[in-house]
Subunit: 412 residues, 2 copies
């Protein structure tokens, strides 16, 4: 019975450590920036695994690699996936876990002699992290047709090398048109990269969607003056306005409530001297919400506050939007299936939105999509100390296995 | 009659432009950092003027230079002075004005055949600005015996050169012991370096004292986490605490009132990324007040707020005092004399404290001391666009002339 089917947990964990040798850093962690020699080593490792499983391999023009386990019928495929590129000081799990667990799912099915009705695929998307080339989640956004292939290929790194050149150099600029395959559904298994599951001791996160993201940069211009000789009433202090905005941003998250989060991560003062009133501040506000109407409300409230506060101090303000993604809501039947499977396997579980961006958010515009989260210790990610306990990795893999198998057995 | 005596205004203004050629910057302004070749050129220029006036020249071991016009009696001298070193992008007036006006006063007396009862001196103090060597106001603090000569001479610039070496190299390490002269009183004429006189259209600032200064640096340590995945309630945001402190610092100035000013000029976020909660912030708070009890109250209120606010966010905080000077109150008879003289010459005048530090604040511990301010356009100083109208320069010089002459005619 397929419900007694379980992945080979040790093999999954081992495969993550093996992949982690590609671009390994001294002291732990990995550095596999997109389309570098290290990324090539990681890609070659995963492709070799795909070939060992007898998968048909398709590489598209943006370097996305899909390994397909043929089904009994030529129906749209059920896809698992994620990415294997990392940040400069990445861990072993972010992205890699979803890819290696996908291959483990296929290996488990094959060993049990199960050929599903539909093809089952594993894809790793190019440049999810967006460290070397921007924008991030590039492979999936191009796959979904939401960003032009030509623009993505023309993106340059700091040395002026285009992604097109870099992909060609490592032999991963494929011939297929991105997105040119029939996909029935997409499920991405990922570490949470946040503290909620770990803090609560919950085994499985049933991801309901991805928060919408709004990044705004404000440039505040006041007048630089002597800290001792300038009366308070005569000041045009860009730093004070920036500080007020940062305090407001926190209050705003409380005011909006729900899933609203708000962060001032970047702030640069000029001239940044103890005894000089700052005349120039650049700062960012990162707003996220699962509800687009609420996110729009937060943006509006912030904008009003910034204008009012700058005016009171007679500081001028210019702003620009750096990033704006609408929230994504995952397919109800996939969310329900993940929930039911976690329950039936006896795992504690909870619904939660993803606070970070993932390839699944673009795949959600291609087909019904969903995500499964497992805890990561302390919520730490993008860090060489990123860690998820083997038992959690295996739990996630087993939930994925059953959800995928069930979807792959659906008739046309 | 001495009350009809007036300085040669054109000569004073010309002398400032001549001195301004030493270390002149393209586009205007000057750069004469302490004990550099440019400073030597400026010193040589002023010493040549002193010699032309027949003054006896004394150079002390910290490089302070005093030119003395002998009096009829060997009584303690009446001293004028300031500094001729500048910041990297300095103007023509800051410091230089007090020195050149002092020489103009002596020239005027000589031309009128007046030899005063007491000696009249002009001193320029070494390294008032404190850009190349710290602390600032070095020549006067050593002169006053408030800072050890050896420590000052051992101060190193960024290239590891000591002030001792630099002074010797330019030939201005003198043999006299700093402060080893009998000074009856000290009057420093200076541009305001603030906006008050210019904004009000007041001719003469009667300086009542120098604000006490308290500089505190706070280092805030929180936890760096993902801006999307970390719920608001789980954050330990060092940036938020810093912003709250900056807002509080402004409110505090209002709460304390009077002459209290408060500035957050320096703030550095780490990692300073849009989508990462800052885990490390270094910031400074500059508090100044003319009343030491009020300054102490402000320091206490700030400290309490910082501790409470850091604790609420579970951010740790360490603090260190960078600078702490008590307020200085100038001698009442000198303040009154400046006021009376401005009035009698028909100038509009007002009392105000100095928000910036000056050599006079250390001379106030040696003898009765005072300062005269003249407006500077827009309050702009430490800037190549620093400017004071010739009429204002001349007005200040004439007030100085009469105040000095009156004090120099006092019998023992």
């Amino acid at each position: 019975m397929s419900h007694l089917l379980r992945i080979n947990g040790q093999r999954l964990v081992d495969s993550l450590f093996e992949l982690g040798r590609c671009g390994a850093l001294e002291g732990g962690g990995v550095c596999r920036l997109a389309a570098t020699a290290e990324d090539k080593a990681g890609r070659d490792f995963v492709v070799a695994r795909m070939k060992a499983l007898g998968l048909a391999i398709r590489i598209d023009a943006i370097g996305n690699v899909t390994g397909i386990y043929a089904g009994e019928q030529d129906l749209p495929m059920v896809m698992m996936g994620s990415h294997i590129d990392t940040v400069a000081t990445g861990g072993l799990y972010d992205g890699n876990y979803g890819v290696m667990a996908g291959l483990e799912v296929i290996a488990t099915l094959q060993e049990s002699g199960i050929r599903p009705l539909r093809p089952i695929a594993v894809t790793f998307f190019t440049n999810e992290e967006g460290v070397r080339f921007q924008p991030d989640m590039m492979g999936s956004v191009v796959f979904a047709g939401n960003y032009p292939l030509e623009a993505a290929l023309a993106a340059k790194d700091r040395d002026g090398i285009t992604l097109d050149e870099a992909l060609s150099a490592i032999g991963y600029k494929g011939k297929h048109k991105p997105g040119d395959m029939a996909v029935d559904s997409y499920v991405e298994l990922h570490i949470e990269q946040g503290p909620i599951l770990d803090r609560e001791g919950t085994d499985i996160g049933v991801v309901t969607g991805v928060q919408g993201i709004s990044w705004c940069e404000f440039t505040l211009t006041g007048v630089s003056n002597h800290a001792g000789t300038t009366p308070m009433a005569m000041r045009h202090d860009a730093g004070l306005v920036a500080a007020k905005i940062a305090v407001f941003a926190r209050d705003l998250a409380k005011e909006i409530g729900g899933h609203q989060v708000s962060t001032v991560g970047h702030m640069t003062f000029k001239p940044n001297l103890i005894n000089v009133i700052p005349n120039h501040v650049v700062m960012t506000v990162d707003l996220r919400n699962t509800d687009n109407a609420e996110l729009i409300r937060a943006e509006k409230r912030l904008k009003e506050y910034v204008e009012k506060t700058a005016q009171e101090e007679r500081v001028t303000v210019s702003s620009r939007s750096l990033v704006r993604f609408n929230p994504v809501i995952f397919a109800e039947d996939i969310v329900t299936a993940i929930q039911a499977e976690a329950e039936s396997q006896g795992f504690s579980h909870r619904c939660l939105p993803s606070g970070a961006g993932h390839d699944a958010q673009f795949m959600a515009s291609v087909c019904p999509a969903g995500m499964i989260f497992v805890p990561c210790v302390g919520g730490v990610s993008h860090n060489i100390h990123e860690h998820t306990k083997p038992a959690d990795l295996i739990a996630g893999g087993n939930v994925l296995l059953q959800v995928i198998l069930e979807r792959a057995q659906r008739a046309a």
